[in-house]
Symmetry: C2
Subunit: 773 residues, 2 copies
């Protein structure tokens, strides 16, 4: 699909209709506002292939697990994001013919995602019975009024023709991903109040309630028509029906004002009424004003989060698409929500929380918004600590050890492939690292006393039990692990996992001893609550001092796992392109036996703990592993960008930057029809800010060492750091840093100490074109 | 459940009814005749927990596969043995109360499996409305007329009472193991012809047709009643109904004559009529005569296959139970059938063919019957060679390499856990070894030209592609393997798999070069068909000479896999008994990380290739691995018995013999309610014959080195060897070998050369009480 969408700085544009790419386009053109979101299905009937998906944040379903052979410790269910009420639906019948782009061949079809304004637009012409019609559609999910969404659907007729326009809400929807082909919803009620219609449904389990109400405005050449409208109420579904005769040259427009509500925000008894009240209010405010406020809200987002790239439309479009989708998915307004790998753009991964949140999204929120947003993500895990301890107990761990789930909605494990669920335990490391990173970035240690230390202790207890002493090696080893590279599993001594585990023990010990020293009251409370005893530290220390890390002396590289060099060593460049991505062409055993790496593994560790290693070490490992990495995880290329930029591998950094930022737009991994890779989009942000910008926090001080890809004239980004916002602009001559608001702060550029003092102050420094630190 | 069943040399007896053990007893008391079989469900209504299962050999269903996450190369379906027409069903209503042992408490309940005669018997008393009734039931599935089964159900009344006796056939049955809770059957027809009733059903896929017909005989005190009988035909179900009034002191008996037929043996159009014809004929022959012929057929089996143990009822009952169940499961009459791990006693493992057949069952059939039976098992695999090649192609192998499926009905892979399906490849080794073993045991090489060589070549091609050259080791390695011990998986250089693979390459090369020399015409045909070129042998030779085997120099043992000694080394005796079996108490990752062995792995290899190793090597490996083996596979203890016996570890051999022979009777692995471990029962036979008897074929000559467990007075078994049958009797003084029929043959006892010449000739030799070879 490379170059299928037209490149444009602020828009994604599809010209000409391709049924073959429709599901992919449905993903790409997704819209949302953090509280709800949906794929870009057509409003009118479409009988071709389509993945229907309208999602309400926080509303999920515990689908009965499907496994081959059950294993002790498997979860009973897999929580799934729910395809919810179809609120966009319209049936449009012209001269007795259903408008259906799978059957009629549209001309001049154009679909546009206007990212600056948050609008999904579409236009096309169709011929029915030798008569011509021009269709124009626009819809948005309001960022300003987050339970409101609107559609304006216009038909201009170039002949006289009959029109039956049915505008509906339908609660009888299915998940494509339903293990036993069940429908997850139960009907509650449909009703009409004046000109408003609504449906109310609830989930078969967990009692989530979702209501939708709509008011429609039917217009001829801009004048509202009231008389000819009828309503039809069926089980699950309400319809507002306009029967009319279109005249040559006139335009027939339907505005649909919808409100979607759930019992996350209302008492059960009020959910349905609230939807009616909201929809009525939206109708009264009117489309243009709602639209204007929505655009204004997006304008606000862009003023803080935009990354501007000059001289490279493809790169510019890529990064804006990433920032746009991230802001559509999570706003940080609700502490109960988190960030599913596919956001509101598909069902895959169940919409649940993964380690992606800590390892990829946290830096984005730390760098682009107030620390309270990032703190909410940490607290989300603290609230689930009890369940993480239960989860570890199920697997045989004791004494308050916690294993956070691989996939979760409410803290319970939902994943059930043993090699992931039980063995991909490095997620615990990312959750601990997030506590450290928050403290490092914000300079604020107070969260440690508000749950952070408890989380660290529980995770450290897990690691201390998860390693064992090997008599053969006279060291601690960690067996049966799946690292970030899922193309190996059940391996021994995965370097990344062992390293982060050992780091975690050290960091936790430091945190605890600082608390004892600095906060004796809290320390007392902490030890009493967690039954922590100092003997635990001795064991940790012993592990710290005797941890086995796989290392190759001749190559002087860390080994992803002990037997890695025993594998046949082939490079990605020597693979037959027709066999890529290998996960779509090779059997699983062949992938596992190969040396190919799905995503950064050793390099992920080096990325996190960069200052533990000298530049030569980083280079040797990068030079070894990057040529073996197929980047078939969306989370992979961004990490390589950051390291490549650091090493001065500008071309490699740029190539991988395009891959991460245009992963979905160019469908590198041939799976965009399933949805977008939302969490990895935060990695794209890191690729620019930490990669090209060279941002680090070193010894409690912000540090930058920017480079400029040769393909670009300049780039700029805004950064939130501690109490300040600053803009960083990099062009081929110089770097300018300007304080937009907040406190003065010190920072280093290329190891040179600098300071900006007051708002609108800026400093400039010459771009160092050969710097690699 | 240890000692739940009463010990008896020829019978399994349950005294007193325990609802809690009912499903286990249903498994234990299973009956069958190779063509059909069933669990010992009650005939009358039983509302308690029960696993219904009546199976027809060769009739299976391709159930849509259930997986967590799909992987390339996974099969689309899992073939399953089908719970088929319920032909035993009876509703017995006395004085308006349904006879249901879940609700009425029976007195003097006794259930007996009469193994000598192949009869399932049951008797009990119940009280209904303060009236007493004595019930006696007997049923059998005729071994003589293999589409016939009969029940005789008698009620003696000690009061006057009303009786409504409904005798029925019901085609509307479900598999408990249905992935999507579907019913696998479609109704074809029900009908009545004179006094016969029948149901006819077919499978929803693959068009298997099964029909059942019954004729009932209703009797009062032995006199048949015709007048009061009525029939009822419903969809799926036919009923024959007897309404009567029971008199104090009289006995009311129903004889049910059933025939079950399928389109494996009849044209589709004739299946139903055949069942009617058979059932009518059975009725006319009558219960007593059918029963007598059935018993006679069993008597024939026992005359050839019995193993007699004196002085140890528990051991005697165990071995007879094993021989009885094996003979109920497979008779070798039909080349399309094979031996499912649970036979006709449960749904688990789908009733499909596993490596159990070659590794465990083949020696039993070689040793107890004409070689034509064993040859059928080999031909079964040859017929499926094309599918095995397709299977390997799916996984990326080329040039006619074959990977036989882990689980199959028709040659296609049905299993779908990647660590088994793709990695438990040692099954290929067992299939090659079976070709060798057949030739060794029978002395007949002709099968090599009838498919054997093709099978060997295809398997060898697989091995040659499955290993790879390790630069690190400068040797060939085999990565990503699951050995027989499934408590480790995705390991590197599993000793067993590497050893059998390398052996297979050598043996195949020998076979091919012998064919070239001795059978040039066939060799030409062979090379043309398989496109074999001699260069392949060079690669094999290079592998032979450079194969890596994990070995520990200090312990001088073969390592099950390279990192085995890196594991925490704990012994089984130090496990908390409440945590056993560990597969029911531990999470999967914990099991995988532990050193505990599910079943013989290195020792399995030593068992197969015993003459490649000196006694000290065998001893060191046994001494190391046996204390780490939990024997949670039914296939494990028998192999250890053989080696323990060889090493003179009499107590260990005896302990493990009880475990294998009484595995199900004493429910060692707490899973007998799911069905019996049929294939491992052949291992029990090996435990006696190869273990205590010390039977081997050495240099084309039979060799024995018997020991006598101290708990036994004597034991004896019959052996089929080449063209002869001989009996071997071992008591505390001497061993007697007698030629029962066939040619004279030479053999060794304790390395002493001997011969028996003509029928009834026997030789005796003193028992060597300290012999270990």
């Amino acid at each position: 699909m490379k170059n299928y969408f037209i490149q444009n700085e602020w828009q994604i544009i599809e010209e000409g209709f391709n049924a073959e790419y429709h599901e992919a386009a449905e993903s790409i053109f997704s819209i949302g506002n953090g509280k709800m979101g949906q794929r870009a299905m057509f409003e009118e009937t479409y009988s071709g292939k389509s993945l229907q998906g309208s999602y309400v944040a926080g509303v999920y379903y515990p689908d009965k697990t499907r496994v081959g052979w059950w294993k002790n410790g498997y979860p009973e269910y897999f929580a799934k994001v729910l395809n919810s009420v179809n609120w966009i639906g319209m049936n449009i019948n012209i001269d007795g013919v259903e408008l259906d782009l799978a059957k009629l061949s549209p001309k001049n079809f154009k679909r546009t995602l206007n990212m600056r304004e948050g609008l999904l637009q579409r236009s096309f012409q169709v011929e029915i019975n030798n008569k011509q019609f021009q269709i124009d559609v626009e819809r948005f999910i309001s960022r300003d009024a987050d339970e409101i969404a609107c559609i304006r659907y216009s038909i201009k007729s170039f002949s006289d023709a009959s029109l039956k326009f049915t505008n509906y809400l339908d609660g009888h929807v299915k998940n494509k991903d339903s293990n036993y082909d069940e429908i997850f919803w139960t009907r509650v009620e449909e009703k009409q109040v004046d000109d408003l219609l609504g449906v109310h449904v609830k989930t078969n389990k967990l009692n989530f309630k979702v209501a939708a109400s709509m008011q429609s405005k039917f217009m001829v050449d801009g004048t509202e028509i009231k008389a000819a409208i009828s309503s039809e109420i069926n089980n699950w579904k309400v319809n507002s029906i306009w029967n009319t005769t279109m005249k040559n040259g006139s335009t027939y427009t339907v505005e649909k004002y919808v409100s979607i509500t759930s019992n996350l925000y209302y008492d059960d008894a009020d959910v349905f009424d609230a939807a009616f009240k909201n929809a009525s209010s939206a109708y009264n405010i009117g489309y243009d004003l709602l639209r204007a406020k929505h655009i204004e809200s997006w304008s606000d987002v862009w003023s803080k989060a935009d990354i501007k790239i000059e001289g490279d439309v493809s790169a510019q479009q890529g990064i804006r698409f990433n920032i746009f989708q991230l802001n559509q998915t999570y706003t940080g307004r609700d502490p109960r929500l988190n960030i599913g790998p596919k956001g509101f753009t598909g069902e895959k991964y169940g919409g649940s929380t993964y380690w992606d949140t800590e390892a990829y999204c946290l830096p984005f929120y730390l760098g682009t918004s107030d620390s309270s947003i990032a703190l909410q993500l940490l607290k989300y895990r603290y609230k689930q600590l009890d369940k993480a301890i239960e989860n570890a107990e199920k697997l045989g761990f004791k004494n308050g050890a916690a294993l956070y789930p691989m996939v979760t909605m409410n803290g319970e494990e939902c994943h059930n492939e043993w090699e992931i669920t039980f063995e991909e335990i490095h997620r615990n490391g990312a959750i601990a690292f997030a506590v450290f990173q928050y403290q490092l970035y914000t300079g604020d240690a107070s969260y440690l006393k508000e749950g952070g230390a408890e989380v660290l202790l529980a995770i450290s207890r897990f690691w201390a039990q998860r390693v064992h002493w090997s008599n053969a090696k006279s060291q601690y080893v960690m067996h049966g692990v799946t690292g970030p590279n899922e193309y190996e599993n059940n391996i021994n001594n995965n370097w990344y996992t062992s390293y982060i585990a050992n780091w975690c023990l050290k960091y936790t010990a430091e945190v605890i001893s600082n608390l004892e020293k600095d906060s004796p009251d809290y320390y007392k409370e902490f030890t009493s609550k967690t039954k922590f005893v100092k003997e635990e530290l001795n064991k940790w220390k012993h592990i710290n001092d005797n941890m086995f890390y796989a290392y190759d002396e001749s190559l002087q590289i860390f080994l992803q796992q002990e037997s890695y060099l025993d594998k046949e060593q082939i490079l990605v460049k020597d693979l037959d392109p027709s066999e890529r991505p290998i996960n779509q062409h090779w059997s699983w055993d062949r992938i596992l036996r190969s040396c190919f790496i799905k995503q950064a593994d050793v390099l992920q560790g080096i990325f996190l703990f960069e200052d533990h290693f000298d530049l030569d070490t980083i280079r040797r490992n990068f030079d070894f592993y990057e040529p073996r990495t197929v980047h078939e995880s969306s989370l992979s290329p961004c990490i390589h960008v950051v390291l490549a930029a650091k090493l001065g591998y500008d071309e490699k950094a740029y190539e991988l930057y395009l891959r991460t930022s245009r992963l979905d737009l160019d469908d590198y991994n041939k799976e965009v029809h399933e949805g977008l890779h939302i969490t990895s989009m935060a990695g794209t942000w890191m690729a620019v800010v930490n990669g090209f910008g060279g941002l680090r926090i070193k010894k409690d001080k912000l540090s930058l060492s920017p480079m400029l890809p040769s393909q670009w004239k300049s780039y700029s980004f805004t950064l939130h750091y501690r109490n300040s916002n600053a803009s960083i602009n990099v062009n081929s001559n110089e770097i300018e840093i300007k304080l937009i608001e907040g406190d003065s702060f010190d920072f280093d550029i290329y190891d040179e100490s600098m300071n900006i003092n007051k708002t609108n102050d800026s400093v400039k420094i010459k771009l160092n074109k050969t710097y690699a630190n």
